[in-house]
């Protein structure tokens, strides 16, 4: 069985190493070997390590060879085939399942090769030192987070996502990645080797991901402190090496310079877009520069904004995006000029419409805004660019201090006293709820609202009623904005104005009910996902005569507030799942993708550079004699398993195999693996007939532990195979334990499968077909990119010997050694056509759903073996180089 080599590099600083090892051994180190590489320590390390002798393999190097050579020594010493995890000795492990979660991330996609995690610094309040970083070509100043800011830990970046690079203070590297691009480049002593490695991986089509579900403490530079300039010299030397290799290439990756003209502080909605989209566009190959359209002091701690502000252009920028109210559109100065704006009214003012003439393209967030511009006579092409949610910062797990008395808290933000109608909100709230009720209203008031907002609030707060609290938002960090929402239970946007309110969608993403006026940019959103406040009437905005906004109906608002409060328990149930699903469908990254397309639409940017073909583990690996048979129940997996046994593949000891009443000659199923599969599904709340929809970490880890024990016994005799239909649902969880496996997918006509399940288990046809689809899709999705063979059960029954020969040839071609050619007599004795009791006619396929028919067709034409089948956009029918269809 394959495992992971955890390589801890130490150079003096024994107390750090000791702390690291102690915390490491207090975690679940399933299938792992700990290797301590001592870079020639002169302190007590060589002696003190003896206390760990039974748990650690100790490798002492003659001197301090530096981070790269030290780690490479550990990699070279790892068991062949093991994945490796590079670890600094100044890490502290507080998360028990960190290794298994890294494994899950490493094997979630076939082209993943390098996995990092969130690293927290030593501050007591928790600060995120690393969450996947990037390096820019201007100064090659590598950043450890997307904004370059050392932010407080508010559970940002807690999902698994692709990044340009990770810090090798902790790096999980898959064996097939090492096989493909080798170890760290000794051109580097220390520093830059991690970014170099990730970029080399990317060149080979191998992805680097940040497993946000893992958080480790990192006493940064604790492992290399002291020194009087030594570290600085190392850094500079490595930087020079890195520059020679990458600087020009990184710069050439840009498709052109795009100038973002906008604001990063006020108004909040536009500032929000600048901060969140500017960095995403840069990461998508646009060299982003920034010019403010209003006087402001940009946040110097946001590296992306600061870098963009420093960048200059010698000629007109290739494109520009003015992201600001329309009166600023006249400042657009790119060869292709786009603007992104939204108004508060059903028709924008005439001077807004006039300003739009300066643009080649006007972008608006929704159809309401498009109509508001068109109604004012704008003839510039208008595109709708739906504005998504920043899922890295807005989700249901964002922490925030809550009211210690447990009151239900409505949150509202006030940035404009006229537009946001705070007095009406407060007075309606106070007449809706009595002082004795456990409810309150928390107002976050932006300074832009002016002191008038306070005066209005003072007036409204006189008299009885439930409590209203106020916080002035004196430029709190934008990245913490979801904490306002997390501090409450519902978000209220009972505004007059119809402009885009980023908090509305963010609230839903955070799992909070949204109450909003059904007008403007929030109308569709609140009608579909929230609690709409009806409009009393459209009225003129006093500051924009002739432009109307909506007066929210006070009674409707009161009813919504009361309704949400009364149903609070019901609404809270499942809010987290709903929030996650909403954010997935309204993702700011999708917005960024579309924005890049729109900006490129002017043909002033270079074409996007072709990406390297995605790495497939099957490309380079020679199979090592581990065969996994996958197939839906009643698909003929036992028959194919029997053929493998007759080729000499080992199914395990006879005594360990199950024999069931419906297949007295044997299933070739190991009892221990079968039991592990049963327990895995049960632990997730399901069984084979009712596959669970979730994969609880504890269930996955327990299954992997049990499966590891099974694989250990098998590995004594390769080639071997395992077969268990339930593995279709959970085989991905086995991938970290397998050394270059081959997957044999056994397929059978779904009508026949359904008939067999009906006869044996009493399942209805539709239910059986749905199960067939679920198993089949799950199995093929999990083995994407890995060596795999498809065996059609009908072919096996029709001509067992020929099917066996094809299967044998395919396995041999993948490099499986030790198999013998199938013997006609043995095969004939094993496959009995009489066992093939269910026969489907083509016309019976009308019973299949369109999705099931599509799946069946993909199996028939082999397109199911395409690396991206079921993962999105790869055209169906593409043949996977890694796969061969037979049977």
């Amino acid at each position: 069985m394959r495992g992971a080599a955890l390589i801890v590099l130490a150079w003096n600083q024994w107390p750090l190493t000791e702390r690291c090892l102690d915390s490491l051994f207090a975690t679940d180190l399933d299938a792992a070997e700990v290797i301590v590489v001592d870079n020639g320590s002169s302190d007590e390390t060589p002696d003190a390590i003896a206390a760990y002798a039974s748990r650690v393999r100790y490798i002492r190097l003659a001197g301090n060879l530096g981070f790269v050579r030290g780690m490479n020594a550990g990699i070279a010493a790892a068991r062949p085939g093991d994945d490796v995890v590079l670890l600094n000795n100044d890490l502290g492990f507080t998360q028990r399942d960190w290794l298994n979660r890294l494994r899950d991330a490493a094997y979630a996609a076939p082209d993943t090769g390098v996995v990092g995690c969130r690293l927290l610094g030593p501050e007591p309040e928790g600060r995120v030192y690393h969450a996947g970083g990037f390096i820019e070509p201007d100064a090659l100043w590598g950043q450890q987070t997307e904004s370059g800011t050392v932010e407080r830990d508010i559970a940002q970046f807690t999902r698994t996502r692709r990044v340009q690079g990770i810090a090798f203070a902790l790096a999980y590297i898959r064996r097939d990645c090492l096989d493909r691009i080798g170890a760290l480049d000794p051109m580097f002593h220390s520093y830059f080797e991690d970014t170099d490695y990730c970029l080399r991986a990317a060149d080979a089509g191998i992805a680097t991901v940040l497993a946000g579900g893992v958080t480790i403490q990192h006493d940064q530079h604790g492992s290399t402190q002291d020194d009087g300039g030594f570290r600085r010299r190392l850094w500079e030397a490595s930087r020079a090496s890195f520059a020679a290799r990458w600087q020009k290439r990184l710069a050439e990756n840009y498709r052109g310079t795009v100038l973002w003209q906008g604001a990063t502080r006020f108004a909040p909605a536009y500032a929000n877009l600048a901060r969140t989209l500017l960095r995403r566009l840069d990461a998508r190959g646009l060299r982003m520069a920034f010019a403010p359209v209003v006087r402001e002091i940009a946040d110097p701690e946001d590296y992306r904004v600061e870098l963009a502000g420093r960048r200059r252009w010698t000629t007109t920028p290739d494109a520009t995006l003015v992201c600001a109210p329309a009166p600023h559109f006249g400042k657009a100065q790119g060869r292709f000029r786009a603007g992104l704006a939204f108004g508060e009214w059903d028709r924008v003012p005439a001077h807004w419409a006039d300003a739009a003439r300066a643009l080649d393209l006007l972008l608006v967030p929704d159809a309401f805004q498009a109509e508001a511009f068109r109604a004012a006579g704008v003839r510039t092409p208008i595109d709708v660019l739906p504005l998504g949610v920043d899922r890295d910062y807005c989700h249901p797990r964002v922490p925030a201090p809550r009211d210690p008395d447990g009151r239900f808290v409505f949150v509202a933000t006030i940035a404009d006293a006229a537009r946001d109608a705070p007095a009406q909100l407060v007075s309606t709230f106070r007449r809706t709820f009595r002082a004795s009720e456990p409810v309150e209203l928390l107002l976050i008031v932006d300074p832009a609202a002016g002191v008038d907002a306070n005066a209005a609030l003072d007036t409204a707060r006189t008299g009885d009623g439930a409590r209203v609290r106020v916080i002035a938002n004196w430029a709190f960090p934008d990245y913490q904005r979801a904490q306002w929402l997390a501090a409450g239970d519902a978000y209220v946007s009972a505004r007059r104005g119809g402009g885009w309110d980023p908090h509305a969608a963010e609230a839903i993403a955070c799992g909070k009910p949204l109450i909003a006026t059904a007008f403007g940019s929030q109308a569709t959103l609140v009608r579909e996902y929230g609690h709409p406040v009806e409009i009393a009437r459209l009225v003129d905005d006093p500051s924009q005569r002739g432009c109307r906004w909506a007066e929210p109906d006070a009674d409707s608002l009161a009813a919504r507030l009361r309704d949400v409060f009364e149903r609070r328990d019901l609404l809270a149930a499942g809010a987290s799942a709903r929030g996650g699903a909403f954010a997935s469908g309204h993702d700011l990254d999708a917005t960024a993708d579309r924005l890049v397309d729109r900006l490129a639409g002017g043909n002033t940017l270079s074409p996007a550079r072709a990406r390297p073909r995605a790495h497939l583990p099957a490309d380079d690996a020679r199979a090592c004699g581990q065969i996994v048979v996958l197939g839906m129940h009643r698909s003929g997996t036992s028959s194919v398993a029997g053929l493998l046994a007759r080729m000499g593949a080992w199914p395990g000891d006879d005594s360990a195999l199950l024999i069931g009443p419906d297949n007295p000659r044997g299933h070739y199923e190991l009892g221990a693996l079968h039991g592990a599969c049963l327990r895995r599904l049960e632990a997730a709340g399901g069984d084979w007939k009712h596959p669970p929809m979730s994969a609880p970490d504890a269930a996955v880890d327990a299954f992997r532990r049990e499966a590891a024990a099974v694989l250990d016994t098998l590995d004594a005799r390769r080639p071997w195979f395992v077969k268990e239909p339930r593995l279709c649902l959970i085989v991905r969880e086995l991938l970290p334990l397998l050394t270059r496996p081959v997957f044999v997918h056994v397929v059978r006509d779904p009508i026949e499968v359904a008939a067999s399940l009906e006869a044996r288990d009493g399942l209805g046809r539709d239910e059986a077909l749905a199960l067939w689809e679920r198993y089949t899709r799950a199995a093929f999705a999990a083995t994407r990119g890995w060596p795999r063979v498809v065996v059609d059960y009908a072919g096996v029954v029709a001509d067992p010997l020929a099917a066996s020969a094809r299967l044998h040839a395919a396995l041999v071609a993948f490099g499986v050694e030790g198999l013998r050619a199938p013997d006609a007599t043995a095969v004939g004795d094993w496959i009995e056509p009489a066992l093939h009791r269910q026969h489907a006619a083509r016309e019976q396929h009308v019973a299949l759903s369109p999705a099931q028919r599509e799946l069946l067709a993909a199996i028939a034409d082999g397109s199911i073996l395409a690396p991206d089948f079921g993962a999105g956009d790869e055209p169906a029918g593409a043949e996977a180089a890694s796969a061969r269809a037979c049977g």
Partner: protein
Amino acid sequence: MPREVDAARLAMLAARLDASPRELLALAARLAPRERIDRTEIDAELARIRAAGDSADAGVGILLLGFASFAADDVDRALEIVWRGTDVELR
């Protein structure tokens, strides 16, 4: 205090008004826009600052931070203050 000498001077000035150095800083900020200041106004403003409690203290904390790091990472603190019952308002 940013520097010890400033701290000593502030403490001395504050003592003359029977105020703490932090209250003096808040007082100075509050009265700065006014052209003329008399003792009555000073006392009234000091009373307001003392009544504001945590929020006045938080406001002075902002003054003591370096440029552009004002209010940094204070959402947690602001919420803790407001749950204790003190509004943090604009004026």
